[in-house]
Amino acid sequence: MDRNQSRRQIAAMKQSLFDQGLLDEQFIQLEELQDDANPNFVEEIVTLHYRDSSRLISSIEQALKERNPLDFNKLDTLMHQFKGSSSSIGAKKVKAECNLFREYCRAGNAEGCMRSFQQLKKEYAALRKKLEAYFQLARQAGPQETACRSK
């Protein structure tokens, strides 16, 4: 695949992620922090986010199993962390789902929490899959394709 074609494909992929409401401005902000010395900064941050997310999803899952009654405070705290991490990489839809979950927590709505969490996991998995494809393409095309800042 020639350089221009790669570049167009990456740009199109990124645009699609924005159009679908999966990513927001924060993702662009992170890209602007990349340069020749740090060409994979965004991917590194997103990888750290996956690490956080896996841990938090497990913890939330565990907390949701401990019913009678549900510890809404604990769930809210965990989700606050998950939301923060998602927000930091620009994961727009996932963040919105986090907010919904927290509203259910505050309302003490256990069913709402469970439903929202299932949806959140779906959104998270979908975004992760798409980002993995995006970064793979970006890496193949070379650092010039994603780095925005000049040194």
Partner: protein, 214 residues
């Protein structure tokens, strides 16, 4: 013993005055319990040409600044004493933080509690500007922080433009204050050292007496 102390103190004062002279780089201490956010804020600050130290909690921040209250106790033996003095000196010289940026919601010590602790300190530390970062736009929270002396309250995710603006603001203040402060700081340090040096003499004398009695 007293003479050695005096010479040491004089050399140290000169050394400190040189080290405490203005540098063009801002040293920022960033505090956040989130791994992702620590990496992001570090990058934001480095891109803005700041020296960065990142820690994961309020307690670690206080430790770094030398304010955790664990470095002051009587009844030290001689070698411990000098470790303490060197530690204090190194902390004062290398820490030299120009700005603290802390997350609000952290387990253990919140950013607000960290802010309060710093503002309760002696003048040198109290004057370090503290900025609070939070993902939640809660007016009462913002008011509380500003009332307690926070320089600014930033909404997360923090942007490059936020950091640049902060840096400009701090640099302006820094240039104005630095001459006043440099002399003041070395005076404070001198006083501390004099006190410690005399403490040492007392400790040595006490130890000598005790040993003689044995």
């Amino acid at each position: 013993m007293a003479i050695t102390g005096e010479i040491f103190r004089q050399n140290l004062t000169e050394f400190l005055e040189e080290s405490l002279s203005p540098s063009s780089e801002l040293h920022v201490l960033a505090v956040d319990d989130s791994l992702v956010d620590r990496h992001v804020i570090e990058r934001l600050l480095k891109v803005s040409s700041c020296k960065v130290t990142v820690v994961e909690s309020g307690r670690r921040a206080l430790q770094y600044l030398g304010l955790d209250g664990e470095t002051g106790s009587l009844g030290l033996d001689v070698s411990e004493f000098w470790y303490l003095v060197c530690g204090v000196v190194l902390t004062l010289v290398s820490a030299k933080v120009n700005l603290i940026m802390t997350d609000y919601s952290m387990p253990g010590m919140t950013g607000y509690e960290l802010l309060k602790k710093i503002k309760q300190e002696s003048s040198m530390f109290r004057e370090i500007p503290v900025v609070i970062m939070s993902s939640e736009n809660v007016l009462t929270r913002i008011d509380r922080c500003l009332e307690e002396g926070a320089e600014e309250f930033l909404l997360k995710p923090v942007k490059l433009s936020d950091v640049r603006r902060l840096k400009d603001f701090i640099m302006k203040g820094k240039v104005k204050e630095v001459e006043k402060k440099s002399l003041k700081r070395s005076t404070i340090v001198c006083n501390i050292l004099t006190h410690l040096t005399s403490m040492r003499s007392v400790t040595i004398i006490a130890l000598t007496i005790i040993l003689k009695e044995c």
